[in-house]
């Protein structure tokens, strides 16, 4: 089942000349884990916000083409309708606190209250989200008195608690410690296994290679590739788009090791380990 269908999506921010998105077309299946990569200003955040309807409804500007999420045409629907289906975690964790709640626990409840979730269902959902992100200890803390990483965890948790069918994350682990980032990726992967559709913009190439089903490579507002991580990261012209392949692929390339089955460079730690161990010059 197609969960997201984007066709000919064009967008220009108000008061700018150039299109930020230049005619994107792609489809995403339910339960897929999609990584969006690309250099700075390539349009990742803009695309994320277009899936949520903030582009164009919040920013205005020039809009063309169409985005359908779960049977809803984003360009024609209202943001609050889309928000029932799609959750978005912003790039900057410091600017997504509601500002009207006094504790982390209540902050997580904010979205649920707006969705009209019954009171007795709230606590378990919040507890679960807090546990996933490891912030249970801070439940009574003021949301503004958290460290950068703790705030980012809270931002992710508050969207997960809303249990959207589609979750869009814009560099959600930029301030997390290595284990925290790994935990988040595992948690998100588990959610996608259970049917949540995941779209994540991210610079952490090794993680994208390991966890995403398909990778969408953006460059100057255009879609360069949309394929499996192995295919995308094996491209010879990757550097032209400001992206480097995972460290593991770099090593294997340097040693001339390809996966005999696919003819492509190994992308993940496990895969690379198998090949390197068996390597003889």
């Amino acid at each position: 089942m197609k969960k997201i269908t984007v066709s000919g999506l064009k967008y220009r921010y108000p008061l700018t000349e150039e299109l930020a998105l230049k005619g994107l077309s792609f489809e995403i299946e339910k339960g897929e884990f999609i990584g969006i990569i690309g250099q700075n200003l390539s349009g990742k955040s803009t695309l994320c916000q277009a899936l949520m309807g903030l582009v164009p409804h919040f920013y205005k500007g020039g809009y063309g083409g169409s985005v359908w999420v779960d049977g809803l045409e984003v360009g024609k629907a209202e943001i609050h309708e889309i928000a029932q289906k799609v959750g978005l975690v912003f790039q900057n964790p410091f600017t997504q606190v509601s500002g009207s709640k006094m504790t982390v626990f209540e902050e997580l409840a904010f979205g649920l209250e707006n969705l009209g979730v019954a009171r007795e269902d709230m606590a378990p959902r919040i507890e679960h989200a807090m546990e996933l992100l490891g912030i249970g200890r801070f439940r009574d803390r003021n949301p503004f008195d958290l460290s950068g990483g703790q705030m980012q965890r809270m931002a992710i948790a508050s969207v997960i608690a809303m249990e959207p069918e589609i979750i869009v994350l814009d560099e959600p682990t930029s301030q997390l410690d290595p284990q925290g980032a790994e935990d988040v990726f595992q948690a998100i992967e588990a959610l996608s296994r259970r049917g949540m559709t995941v779209i994540m913009a991210e610079h952490k190439i090794e993680k994208i290679a390991r966890y995403s089903d398909r990778v969408l490579l953006l460059h100057q507002g255009e879609m360069v590739a949309f394929d499996t991580p192995q295919q995308v990261f094996s491209r010879d012209d990757l550097e032209r788009y400001g992206v480097v392949p995972p460290v593991f692929a770099q090593v294997c390339k340097g040693m001339g090791i390809r996966n005999p089955a696919t003819g492509l460079y190994p992308m993940t730690l496990d895969e690379a380990c198998d090949q390197v161990v068996n390597w003889h010059e």
């Binding site: 410690d177 290595p178 790994e182 400001g242 340097g254």
Partner: protein, 274 residues
């Protein structure tokens, strides 16, 4: 000579919840990374070095000056700090004014300040945006502006709080080059960061913070050779070291080239070089 000396430093935001407990440390001119779990107290620590927070007990000496004896503005001639959140730092309506603000305050003449600012913008690759309003720029660009604003002050000590947030490969390479250049000029560069690969390629010395204490302190290679302690602090070795350890080798390699060289040499041991 030590640029920073820390003696029995303690700090808490509210009594009973100790954030930093009894830290004693020296910093010389080696470029140094501070790594550690979220909430370990890294940002708090550098705010104490900068004088923005005062120790509950203990002392911080910057170039021999006790932070208790000088205003934050006075300390600004010695220490520059790039904030974790660029929004906490940027307040002017024009990029060039923003970057000139620091240098002008600490005694550079208008012409000097302008030259420093332009050079710093050049360094971060945003010279062409000098006339724009910082509020119109993206997070990655704002982070670079906040870096340029501090670099332009030419302080002897520069502290970065997570400089690579939102940066793509080119941005990270650029920041890496800036840190190396500053270190070459004999400045102390202190950087809080969660990107282990970046640390491996950039810093001589690495500190591991855990629950308000310094758990490890040593040359980066040694620190990354202790996967057990790293794991306990919610950290991990760089990807390349992970692969190296996974294929059964002890110790740490820090770059792809080192790894390949070690494998080619057919040994498990990495080449012994700093």
């Amino acid at each position: 000579m030590n640029k920073i000396e820390i003696r029995k430093l303690r700090f808490h935001y509210s009594a009973g919840e100790e954030i930093l407990s009894d830290i004693s440390l020296d910093f010389d001119a080696r470029s140094t990374a501070i790594i550690g779990q979220n909430g370990a107290g890294k940002t708090t620590f550098v705010k104490l070095l900068k004088g923005l927070l005062q120790p509950v007990s203990g002392d911080v000496l910057i170039d021999g000056i006790n932070t208790r004896d000088m205003t934050v503005a006075g300390l600004a001639r010695h220490v520059g700090l790039v904030f974790q959140n660029p929004n906490d730092q940027i307040f002017k309506n024009k990029v060039l004014d923003e970057v000139m603000f620091g240098p002008s305050n600490i005694g550079q003449s208008p012409d000097e300040a302008r030259a420093s600012a332009l050079a710093a913008l050049q360094m971060v690759g945003l010279a062409d945006k000098q006339a724009e309003n910082p509020y119109d720029l993206s997070l990655s660009e704002r982070k670079l502006i906040s870096i340029a604003s501090i670099v332009a002050m030419h302080t002897d000590i520069i502290i970065f709080d997570e400089p690579t947030i939102a940066q793509d490969h080119a941005g990270k390479e650029r920041i890496k080059a800036i840190i190396r250049e500053l270190a070459k000029q004999g400045k102390l560069v202190l950087t809080i960061i969660h990107d282990m690969d970046f640390v491996a390629e950039t810093f001589e010395r690495t500190l591991v913070f855990a629950e308000g204490k310094v758990l490890l302190d040593g040359p980066t290679r040694e620190v990354y050779g202790l996967p057990g302690i790293l794991k306990q602090s919610h950290l991990e070795p760089p990807h390349i070291t992970q692969l190296y350890n996974r294929i059964g080798c002890q110790g740490a390699v820090l770059t792809v080239e080192e790894f390949i060289a070690a494998r080619r040499a057919g040994t498990g041991r990495p080449p012994v070089s700093a």
